[in-house]
Amino acid sequence: MNMISKFIESLKSFLIEIGELSYFTGKFFVEVFKRPFEFKEFIRQCYYMGNRSLLLVGVTGFIIGLVFTLQSRPTLEEFGAASWIPSMVSVSLIREIGPIITALICAGRIGSGIGAELGSMRVTEQIDAMEVSGTNPYKYLVVTRVLATTLMLPLLVFFGDVIGIYGSYLVENLKADVSLTLYINQVINILEFSDVIPSTIKSFFFGFAIGIVGCFKGYNCKKGTAGVGKAANEAVVFISMLLFIIDFIAVFVTNIFYDL
């Protein structure tokens, strides 16, 4: 009985949170079109988020490209299909691995950062100070950050993909003496718009999810300084879960279009 009531309580609070997040997201679409536009803060956030994640995304992309090629080469060689490596790596990276891995990195890096930053602003009354100074803190803090993550994530994904493909080329060059021109030609020959467009659209949604959930957790942070850590932590967990759900929906929808 106790367990059932606990489960019901958790379910209730989860549903309440989903409702609050929906309201918070709805408010974004209302505020984003209202003046004044905080353009300077938006640019600052874009620079900050892109710059802060560039190295990590680059290194991760490079290692993934490298490892992916190293791991798949022996098996493909057995079947005499080693020449398919550039095609396989580029399609996998661009369609799936690049967007999801970059988004997960950014969830940890940017999502938790936003959660902690806004959470700390909430508990130290900085958000209230903005409110009483006649500024709309939602517009200044949330709208700018969500727009920045939505715009920056596809760019980071593109950057990660390019570095990943370069990592793969390095392995191919060392193992099979493949030239860069040949490698890139093979990549370009296999890639189609139907590979690039859905993954780019998906990346925008990933970026939006990272921004909105990070802001939601931080903006509604309670319970003093302990709440800041909790907000950052919950932001990462919630975003990661949401990314896989979005990914599943995106793949499902893309497949419907492929079938048509």
Binding site: S120, M121, Q126, A129, E131, V132, G134, T135
Partner: protein
């Protein structure tokens, strides 16, 4: 005590109620603030002083009761009107609430840039920023970040940020809490000099008896969510009521 019967208050609070679950923080609180007056509200920790002051500026919503600030009823006010009221009502937060990611200059410019209605579009904010910093005696901190300032300096900068909009009313939420006695005294004297210079009206939430002695024209003791006692510092400090005496011992 000054006779205020024929003067209209600039802040009028009537029958204010606010509860958190079963905890009735405010239970019919009322106050009037008149022009040029320093009104001190005292009460124990957790007595609802900060909640009350946050209700005044719209950071908390009261359950019932009316708040009228400069003839505007806060219960049915639009966002634009509320922002306009907020340019006339400054708020000094207990923890200063300076924006961590901005320098002192940017902290002071922040409200200025957003109130073009009151000041017009200001091309060069430096003179206004410098004036506000001179008022608090910290002109040389203009390019520092908040983490490079001491607690007392932060409180002064927060006061400068409040002053930059030239408000008619200033709400102070425990302005001396967490400061050493000397810095507290400096902040109190600064508040007094600002009041004399700009003729502002103030509501000061505090449990610092020295602060109340120096600055209060009138005092309200907030106990159990109601106005337990009102009067000047001299009147209240002479009271024999044990609950009132406890504050002045």
């Amino acid at each position: 005590m000054m006779q205020k019967k024929n003067i209209k208050p600039i802040i009028e609070v009537k029958d204010l109620h606010k509860s958190y679950g079963t905890n009735h923080v405010l239970d019919g609180f009322h106050l009037d603030l008149y022009e040029g007056e320093n009104l001190v509200v005292m009460g124990k920790s957790g007595s609802g002083k900060s909640v009350m002051i946050k209700c005044l500026i719209g950071l908390e919503q009261p359950d019932s009761g009316s708040i009228i600030i400069m003839d505007k009823n806060m219960n049915d006010i639009h966002r634009e009107d509320l922002d306009e009221i907020r340019t006339e009502v400054g708020f000094l937060f207990q923890g200063s609430a300076l924006y961590d990611s901005m320098s002192v200059r940017e902290n002071l410019e922040f409200p200025l840039r957003r109130h073009t209605k009151k000041f017009g579009v200001i091309e060069d904010t430096t003179p206004l920023v410098m004036e506000a910093l001179e008022n608090v005696g910290l002109e040389n901190t203009i390019n520092l970040m908040p983490n490079e300032l001491s607690g007392g300096m932060k409180r002064r900068i927060a006061l400068a940020r409040t002053l930059i909009l030239k408000p008619k009313i200033i709400l102070y939420d425990e302005p001396t809490t967490g400061l050493d006695p000397i810095t507290s005294k400096e902040i109190i004297m600064l508040m007094k000099s600002i009041q004399e210079k700009y003729k502002t009206s103030s509501i000061i939430i505090t449990h610092d008896i020295d602060c109340a002695r120096v600055i209060a024209n009138r005092m309200i003791l907030l106990i159990d969510g109601i106005n337990y006692a009102e009067g000047t510092f001299a009147e209240l400090s002479a009271s024999k009521d044990p609950k009132i005496e406890a504050f002045f011992k």
